[in-house]
Symmetry: C2
Subunit: 425 residues, 2 copies
């Protein structure tokens, strides 16, 4: 389908065909959903042994009674699990509650209101505090900034990660910059893994930024590869150590998409100085995390390779869904200009860019035809995609057959919107 | 021991006897601890059936898969459990994570930064925001205020609860007052239950205070009576409804001292308007609470009277410890002026007032003799007890024998400090 080369007659013919196809789909009254970035019931069932795993023994290896109060850092075994996910020393990892979003919101609140390096380092001492947001990105990250009152500026993403020239330029030119979001492996939603060069450059930002600058490194999909040959992520803890910028990065992870989405364990890894100030505030907010649930995780992942083997089972469930999406996209748009995407090799999303100006129309067409998609714009701060082209596809919850069905609709909607746009031009 | 009537010779004789007794105790090198307001291992074991209770079924009665994301309000069964604890409609109860302190900090943060009745209602719009703190009280409550930047003023507590004349006067005369702390049943640390009259007057505060005034009603010990004839607490939800002040009270509770201290479920009950604004902010902080743990609680307390029977078991464990403390106090100070206390009939604490000026000395003497007590001053905002007389006694963790041993030391230290003070006068 070469819209540029096509004659008006050809375009009209395509439009008619696509309208007919679209009406046929609509008549089926489908009820499909590609919005939900969460595990399927089949995936969740991989961890069903979690409840009851303690067998009446609520003490960890150190003899801590996990049922009682206390222990702001989490139990040692859980911190070690977090260290394995994040690639930082366990002594610099805190194991928290069920939500890394909560940890991120808390960390940003502390950085903004109280400071991560003493009260004078609080971002609210500045006239304006601005975060760099690689786009497309994760809407809940933007929500945290918006809620706390932090301004956002965007930089583009490509197959290597954020546009680092743009990031470095912003930091040098805009003194209000206090941090940057990053989803470094299987990024939400583009699925890209930051290249070694990008990781190294991010680690060095602490040398050109002001002392209060913090990268919020949300490694939500650290071990969520679809196959063994998926790209690895360079270790930013190590890179920061080499660059002398340990204080400039806060790392987050969780088991939400490993065990139970709502009942996992969240982790924060940070330098001694950052952890110390964070915990000063955290101690006002809680007496400690749910250590019993942490202990369940420790026991569930005891033994060599337990985590890797568990993630292989997730991959086996998710892979056919990703393949279905990618196959449909390749078949429909592999040889034309109607769409662009990355071949995500892990994570939970595939990100699709229509021709400029069509994302809302495609989402709306799909919705009318019984396929729910994430609202266009959600992958940008303030819900504003300046190109109106990005759509996030989340294929994990539906069955493979449902993904297949939904992608047929999706493809039809993209084509229809594109042809109509060409006709109107 | 009548210090006022005693001659100097008599005082010196007492001092010598007590010094000798104290040195004998010191020589024993005890290691006792009356500081910890937490359940004993024996109490925690009452809930050991919690892990494994789901038997592979992670769905609640409504069919919700509790393993997955979502559901900011918590699951219906957990909200019903919270409603039972709090005495408010389940539809006005949220079930959260493992910590009511976290809910209180979040609620106060929202009230301060964002407002519980639209942005203009945020307390930080005022030049100063002040909380009324009945004293003695709970140090972590003061910590939340201090952390967020809310000023504190104190009012006294007596056997009926806070001095309501003082509370009403403050509200009428000080426009910076935005709220008040309350631990209404088995108050921390005095153990008193607010009288019906006090509850009714607190419910009416919303009619004399400004619209943004909120009582933080921390009903941490709602069902923690030591016997069936312990005083009941009037229902403030009902009282607010009658007074038309539903928006003026936020109620908190948790199962931390019912099931597992660190792995319970926390609850917030509030008016529709308060809940709505709170959830607007909460939605930026989390995708939802640990619903699996909520489901465990629902199953654990299924059936009529399950909660009451469970609490009776706690009472049977705690009661002898409280009796030991009260017996020692009565025997030593029942017929003199050396100390005052309330006969707590529930909760986790007994609050003891020495003669003015002696609390720090008593705590220090006890510490040197191998008995750890909560630092003097901890029961007052900013750690400042103006009378230097209040000491919080927490007898739940040690064995009955240890409590007995520790109280002998405590009594000796109070007497010694008192006699030395009288001699120095």
């Amino acid at each position: 389908m070469d819209l540029q080369a096509a004659s008006k007659d050809q375009l009209q013919q395509w439009a008619q065909q696509l309208e007919a196809e679209y009406e046929t789909i609509k008549a089926q009254k489908l009820g499909l959903d590609l919005t939900r970035g969460k595990p399927s019931a089949e995936q969740l069932s991989l961890s069903n042994a979690m409840d009851g795993i303690l067998d009446g023994n609520y003490s960890d290896d150190a003899g801590t009674d996990c049922r009682n109060y206390g222990g702001l850092d989490g139990i040692a075994g859980a911190r070690a699990l977090g260290a394995e996910l994040i690639g930082a020393p366990a002594s610099n990892v805190m194991a928290g509650g069920n939500s890394s979003l909560t940890l991120m919101h808390q960390a940003m609140s502390v950085a903004y209101h109280y400071g991560l390096n003493g009260p004078e380092s609080a971002w609210n001492k500045q006239e304006k505090a601005t975060f760099i947001c690689p786009v497309p990105g994760y809407d809940r990250h933007y929500g945290v900034c918006e809620h706390i009152g932090i301004n956002m500026v965007t930089v583009g993403m490509d197959a290597n990660g954020p546009d680092m020239d743009a990031v470095e330029k912003l930091i040098k030119e805009d003194s209000s910059i206090v941090g940057m979001w990053a989803v470094p492996r299987f990024s939400n939603p583009t699925g890209v893994v930051y290249s070694d060069d990008v990781v190294a450059r991010i680690a060095k930002l602490g040398n050109i930024a002001n002392a209060n600058f913090r990268v919020f490194w949300d490694n939500a999909y650290a071990v969520h590869a679809l196959s063994d040959d998926a790209p690895q992520l360079a270790n930013i803890w190590q890179a920061c150590k080499e660059a002398g910028t340990e204080d400039s990065v806060l790392q987050f992870a969780s088991t939400s998409k490993i065990t139970f989405a709502g009942s996992g364990v969240a982790f924060l890894a940070a330098s001694d100085a950052n952890l110390s100030d964070f915990k000063k505030s955290l101690g006002f907010m809680t007496i400690g995390p749910d250590k019993v649930n942490q202990l369940r995780h420790v026991k569930f992942f005891a033994g060599d390779h337990a985590l890797a083997e568990h993630m292989n089972k997730h991959a086996a469930i998710i892979r056919p869904r990703f393949e279905s999406v990618l196959n449909h996209l390749q078949a429909a748009f592999g040889n034309n200009e109607l769409g662009q995407w990355e071949s995500a090799q892990g994570g939970y999303f595939i990100s699709f860019d229509t021709q400029p100006g069509l994302a809302k129309e495609v989402v709306s067409l799909a919705s009318e035809a019984g396929v729910k998609l994430t609202p266009a714009g959600a992958t940008f701060p303030y819900g504003q995609d300046p190109q109106n082209s990005n759509i996030r596809i989340a294929p994990t919850v539906p069955t493979v057959e449902q993904v297949d069905e939904a992608m047929k609709v999706f493809v039809c909607c993209v084509k229809l919107a594109s042809v109509k746009q060409a006709l109107a031009a």
